[in-house]
């Protein structure tokens, strides 16, 4: 089932998920998928771990959008740079020279004040989306490799938090248009990347509940990454078990030598892995009512752009 409304019709795709589930890979692959369909993409790396750049075999990127692939510009979030840009664009405060001490101070306040730090990230993203909608930007769609599921709600809620806290001032006024963009399901979707394992599934279900109860952010799809292929049909699995009886195993050992036992044990492990994961998948399916996209496990040593390309194709197969 593809995401509704289609990712390609939206302006802002946010990807979050538990650490280790492949959130950055999925965000980068979705960017490539969108670019392959003629979209001009701005890919935002919020964690600034630079994984996004390496997924396109590109050197590290900074706060200014850099072309990393045909149709894809990428930038790494930097709250100090974002503050500088904000001051210039919105308050007409030209910040010349070193902003360091000021940003440090701001950082300090932002540590305690809810939403202040997050708004610098979210504000930049929303601004890029607004520019895209107005046709003033070099991109049509913004794809965000966001913070992990434990912290994403604070980001999603930043605009509302600020509006509730700050009584006057430009920051408050600006939250209005940001909220309009961020909470419009036609424009925006929050997508959750997970794997068919116990903790990622539990965290996904919990995050969906929290997003629904504590924010108005529009949920999009759940992307289940690293799904193992089914080795046997149910009937064939029975045959496989039959073939593991001692007399049959003797037959194969006579033919191929004792090493063949390891080959059967390997298949046993594959079946067990698949089965324990299927359990978690069933639990996920039964617990959520969102479109689900399955991305197959990649055997072998895929990395960099090759990995991105293969996953983008898998996403395309699922979504279209």
């Amino acid at each position: 089932m593809g995401p509704t409304p289609s990712w390609l019709d939206q302006r802002l795709l946010v990807f979050t998920g538990k650490g280790g589930t492949g959130k950055s890979t999925i965000a980068a692959a979705t960017a490539l998928f969108a670019a392959n369909h003629g979209k001009r993409v701005l890919l935002v790396d919020v964690d600034a771990k630079q994984s996004v750049a390496s997924l396109f075999e590109h050197a590290a990127v900074d706060f200014s959008a850099t072309r990393v692939h045909a149709g894809i510009d990428a930038l790494a979030m930097d709250t100090e740079q974002s503050l500088r840009e904000y001051l210039k664009l919105n308050l007409r405060i030209p910040v010349v020279g070193r902003i360091g001490p000021l940003a440090k101070m701001f950082d300090f306040v932002a540590t305690a004040a809810p939403g202040v730090k997050e708004i610098l990230t979210l504000g930049k993203i929303a601004w890029e989306v607004r520019e895209a909608i107005a046709g003033r930007a070099a991109h049509d769609i913004v794809i965000v490799d966001a913070v992990a599921s434990g912290h994403v709600l604070a980001h999603l809620n930043a605009a509302r938090t600020i509006r509730d806290l700050v009584d006057v001032g430009p920051l408050r006024t600006q939250t209005d248009w940001m909220i309009d963009i961020l909470e419009d399901p036609a424009l925006t979707s929050i997508n959750i990347v997970t794997t068919p394992e116990e903790m990622p599934v539990a965290e996904t279900i919990e995050l969906i509940q929290r997003v629904r109860s504590a924010s108005r952010a529009p949920l999009g799809s759940v992307v289940v990454n690293r799904v193992l292929p089914e080795l046997f049909t149910r009937d064939d699995e029975v045959v496989f078990e039959t073939l593991r009886n001692p007399s049959s195993q003797r037959l194969v050992v006579d033919e191929f030598g004792s090493a063949i036992i390891d080959v059967f044990e390997g298949a046993r492990l594959a079946v067990d892995l698949r089965r324990s994961r299927a359990e978690h998948l069933d639990h996920l399916r039964a617990s959520i009512d969102m479109p689900t996209i399955f991305v197959p496990y990649q055997f072998g040593s895929l990395h960099g752009l090759r990995m991105t390309t293969v996953i983008a194709q898998a996403i395309s197969d699922e979504v279209l």
């Binding site: 280790g20 806290l165 191929f256 298949a267 324990s276």
Partner: protein, 397 residues
Amino acid sequence: MRRDGHGEATLDRLLSAQEIVVCCGSGGVGKTSVAASIALGAARRPGVKVLVLTVDPAKRLATALGLQALGNTEARISAEVLAESGVVLRGELWAAMLDTKQSWDALVLRHAPDETTAYRILNNRLYHNLTARFVQSHDYIAMERLYELHASGRYDLIVIDTPPTRNAVDFLEAPQRMAEFFGGRLLRWLTLPYRVGGGRGARMVNVASRPFYQIADRLLGSTFLQEIAEFFLNFQSMYDGFVQRANAVEALLHDRRTTFAVVSTLESAPLREAELFCVELRKRQYLLGALVLNRVLPETFLSEHSQAAAVALGNDEGAIAESLAAANDLDTATVRRVLGSVAQSFERFGAVAQHERALRDQLRDPPSVVATVPNRAADIADASGLAWIADHLFART
């Protein structure tokens, strides 16, 4: 720990000299299970009292240990629960979870100069946010709890599972950052206008010329800014206690009785982070005791004989499908298809195993103890699962 004339370096020997093991690594590598298994393995020694302090255990793991109702207080894993899974320990295994909010509150109550100030802080809406979202607050509070538990003298060994961080190094810097935060000139500077202006509630007329206040005022409005400053003023009263404590925590982590175990899977991204972490630990002169490679595919996938056998099986050399079908009263085409899948699966996982081996061979300067835990299809459902991991962790290689 060095290799010496008395045999290979093992986790067992490493732990016999330690009082604290800090398990770290990136998210999703099975850190919590490994931490619990190290604790369980160590508790096999007679008379030893071991505590595992975890941050966010998987439900099944928690249930496995009978921990569902556990908060900040430590609880002993009952011998009955362990015996049900066939695990017998000669020592004691204890467990505790980290409740961040509760730990922070306890910290404030301990360090505030008086009760009024303590409750003024605890009831401030910024406090709630600070504790929930202070950069590295989880890290700091985990280390703080560790310090407290260690100082209690109740345990021979404490194994701590570190919270997931954006950056592995973050929690190492947490105590120092905490000390700097409260001792910082920034904080004094920020609260200055309120202090010179006559204490709480004073307006910041006299500082209007400072660019920071000018901008912050325009951004946030003065009421909000004032609230922030008031909060910091209260918080600052805890300065001495906090800094002293942060320094003590820092010293404990550097102590030779504390060792670090870096956990990773043999996948590119987590391993890159693990290696980086090893480098950072050494650079900061922490004791890097062990590297745990978790969920590693069995060696059999790498054997040339097995690989050749898999290829032959897939090609159905010797028309084995026919004789197998006849012997088991099955359809030959079906048997051939199943054998083909068995062979294909072996080759697929073989490719993954080879990638894992390559990554392992490329490890730069690993610590003397490198423990490998095989990939286990089943989740950890009870203590026997932990015992299984412990068997591999403590195995002599």
